[in-house]
């Protein structure tokens, strides 16, 4: 049989659809330029820690550049800026910067992503409505392209800078970036929590009050009719009960004296998931039970609770490899954004999932602020909802196809960093500025060698 020793099977965080590529771990930016300029039409793409849910960091039959050896950070300077090698994880970065009082300006729900990956997905956090996406806080970055190494910023080749921000790695390999960090006084958060019986309630609370907090996120229960029946009996609408948490960084004077100390780095994961998990542990019943317990645990209303920031930002980082819980079949995450006036689309999606009895873990609901200039950057002002669904749920593929149409018709889009199944012909409606991306790509990659399974699947080549 064919010799596969030169290749490695890679899949996304959702663990579906592994493909084989030759994985290279070049030591520095120049070696990456060499790999890029030697690449052919089998393609080449960067990969960080593999946290994209779908096929963004895979390149079947081609080359995958693992950026693990691009590691290291400078000290944070007085202006709060730090130069970070792109293969550095956000975990490493905060361990380095937090003791000096510098935190990430924008952080996703896990620290286990690289700086390069955070740029390629233009990741967002619970503060998008205030602070925008990750790349807004990138002062400059270095990109290895098939035509050489380029240093870009908002002012210097802003076109390439913004095509790379959220560009899913399709403009080359980010090798280093200069980040503007956020100064924090302590490692605690002051958290307000509110519980809502339905989606309408939580959404109007968010519209009314989010602006008073730097961080805001709601967890929505999309579990199916089991609960809807009970809610109807109580005469309630019953779609999407939710828990809203909003917070700000605590200043030293907000805290009791025993908590007033220099910020300390996060702990290591204490739990793990074994390599082999039997099928179907996460099914409709267990997911509904989990969602129920989680909702009951939350207080109806609580103000200014002091929480460690690591627990607030990264509840799942305490469990290593939690994606294995979904078993061999894997799972996917569906995340979309719609304009502010299209809150009804969010409700319709939750209603559809619950009516189709599609098992879904707590969905995450957020309001986005202004978008970035990146043609492929996901956030647009309005609402975003993200939910995890095990693969194998009956009727899931067709259901998501219908949701895509609904989202596209309301001038919304799905998040490509999470995507593994979007219909290619819907993409252009969701991202109307695709031609800007392709003209930048033609300029810096005339032979079109930078490509991924995602770009092939969506016809982005």
């Amino acid at each position: 049989m064919p010799d596969v020793s030169g290749g490695q099977l890679l899949s996304g965080w959702g663990r579906a659809g592994a493909t084989r590529a030759v994985v290279q771990t070049p030591p520095d930016a120049d070696a990456i330029v060499d790999l890029l300029s030697a690449a052919d039409d089998r393609g080449i793409v960067a990969r960080g820690l593999g946290r994209s849910y779908g096929d963004a960091a895979q390149c079947a039959g081609g080359t995958v550049v693992d950026t693990v050896r691009l590691a290291g950070t400078s000290a944070v300077d007085a202006a709060g800026e730090v130069e970070v090698a792109a293969g550095t994880s956000l975990d490493t970065l905060v361990r380095h910067s937090v003791p000096d009082g510098w935190f990430l300006p924008v952080t996703p729900g896990t620290r286990q992503v690289t700086v390069g990956g955070a740029i390629a997905s233009d990741v967002h956090g619970k503060n998008h409505h205030v602070d925008g996406g990750f790349c807004r806080h990138v002062a400059a970055m270095t990109i290895a392209t098939p035509t050489g190494l380029r240093r870009v910023s908002h002012a210097q080749d802003g076109e390439l800078f913004w095509a790379t921000a959220g560009g899913m790695g399709l403009t080359g390999v980010v090798t280093s970036a200069r980040l503007r960090m956020l100064e924090v006084d302590t490692d605690r958060m002051l958290v307000d929590t509110d519980r809502f019986v339905d989606l309408d309630g939580v959404m109007s609370a968010m519209e009314g009050g989010d602006d008073r907090y730097r961080y805001s996120v709601a967890w929505v229960d999309c579990s199916g009719p089991i609960r809807a029946k009970a809610s109807r009996a109580r005469g309630r609408p019953g779609v999407g009960r939710a828990v809203l948490t909003r917070a700000d960084h605590a200043r030293a004077e907000d805290l009791p004296s025993r908590l007033r100390r220099a910020p300390s780095p996060p702990g290591r994961p204490r739990l793990g998931v074994p390599r082999y998990v039997p099928r179907g542990i996460l099914n409709r019943a267990s997911i509904a039970a989990f969602n129920e317990a989680w909702y009951r645990r939350a207080p109806a209303h609580r103000e200014a609770e002091v929480q460690p920031m690591w627990r607030f930002f990264y509840p799942l980082d305490g469990v290593a490899d939690w994606n294995r819980l979904y078993g061999r079949a894997g799972f996917l995450q569906y995340q979309f954004a719609v304009p502010p006036s299209c809150g009804d689309v969010v409700t319709a999606v939750v209603r559809e999932l619950s009516a189709r009895r599609i098992p879904s873990f707590l969905a995450v609901l957020k309001r986005f602020g202004p978008s970035s200039p990146g043609p492929l950057s996901f956030p647009i002002p309005g609402w975003t909802l993200a939910l995890d669904v095990p693969l194998g749920a009956e009727g899931l593929a067709a259901c998501l196809d219908r949701l895509d149409v609904m989202v596209a018709e309301s001038k919304g889009r799905v998040y490509l960093a999470k995507d593994s199944r979007l219909r290619p012909d819907v993409l252009a409606a969701m991202y109307p500025r695709l031609t800007e991306l392709s003209s930048v790509r033609r300029r810096i990659d005339p032979d079109g060698v930078v490509r991924s399974d995602l770009s092939r699947r969506l016809g982005l080549d």
Binding site: M1, G7, L9, G17, R20, G61, A329, R456
Partner: protein
């Protein structure tokens, strides 16, 4: 590329004129299939299969001719299909010739059945596997039969060839582990098609549409063996029947 549900955007169908293959192509075109290469012997029937694939939504449909009696030509035919299609997400193998009882002791009829049902497909699958392995990914779906599970007295020539192909495909799938290529065997009850015209109906029979739905669902599940209808999996118990009894079961 395949999506997270294992749904192909491009497919090569070996035996593209068969009714079952046509039904599968139509079902796949409902999902993500856009590029199809139909390979078969009869030019006229290829043309009509191509137009029904296009009507079902496939945008790029081409045809390649081969003769399943020409084992030496199998690799060429597969290469031609891959070269026409570009990266191939799915290879569907639906090639075979049914045997007839009156030909049981006819050596040339045996040669014809065994060549078209086992030898040509085995060579073609080998070539497809190596092309897909170069791609770093792909699915191969082999239409097998319940007769491959335990070869019936009345149909042993075809049954034995199918049994061989079934075993070959399982082995090929195991050999491809780690390459990104997955082989799936679909074991079918009898479907009323051109191939079975004039034969009596049988228990555990199925329809072309049921086969198509099962293939689509099977791609999603990535199961090594897909049974159609699902209850057909109990046919595996037929292996426990003593041969002296088995040979008396009427066909």
């Amino acid at each position: 590329m395949l999506d997270a549900f294992g749904q192909p955007q491009s497919a090569v169908v070996l035996g593209g004129t068969s009714d079952l293959a046509g039904a599968v192509v139509r079902a796949l075109a409902q999902r993500r299939l856009r590029t199809v290469v139909l390979a078969g012997r009869d030019e006229e029937r290829l043309r009509s299969a191509a137009s029904s694939a296009a009507a079902a939504g496939a945008e790029r449909v081409s045809t390649v001719r081969f003769d399943a009696q020409e084992v030496g030509d199998a690799a060429r035919a597969v290469d031609e299909c891959f070269d026409v299609a570009g990266p191939v997400d799915l290879v569907l193998l639906a090639v075979g010739v049914l045997s007839h009882r009156q030909d049981e002791l006819n050596s040339s009829a045996t040669a014809e059945v065994v060549t078209a049902t086992y030898s040509w497909p085995a060579v073609a699958l080998t070539r497809a596997a190596s092309r897909m392995s170069e791609q770093g990914y792909g699915r191969i779906v082999v239409l097998s039969s319940l007769v491959a599970v335990r070869v019936p007295r009345h149909n042993f020539v075809y049954g034995s060839a199918k049994a061989g192909l079934d075993a070959f495909s399982i082995g090929l799938g195991d050999a491809l582990s780690g390459t990104g290529v997955i082989v799936q065997v679909v074991r079918l009850g009898r479907a009323p098609t051109k191939m079975t015209e004039g034969l009596p109906g049988a228990p555990l029979s199925t329809t072309a549409e049921a086969v198509a739905d099962a293939v689509v669902a099977g791609l999603e599940s990535r199961a090594q063996v897909v049974w159609v209808p699902a209850a057909a999996r109990w046919v595996a118990l037929a292996r426990l029947v003593p041969q002296s009894l088995w040979r008396r079961i009427p066909g």
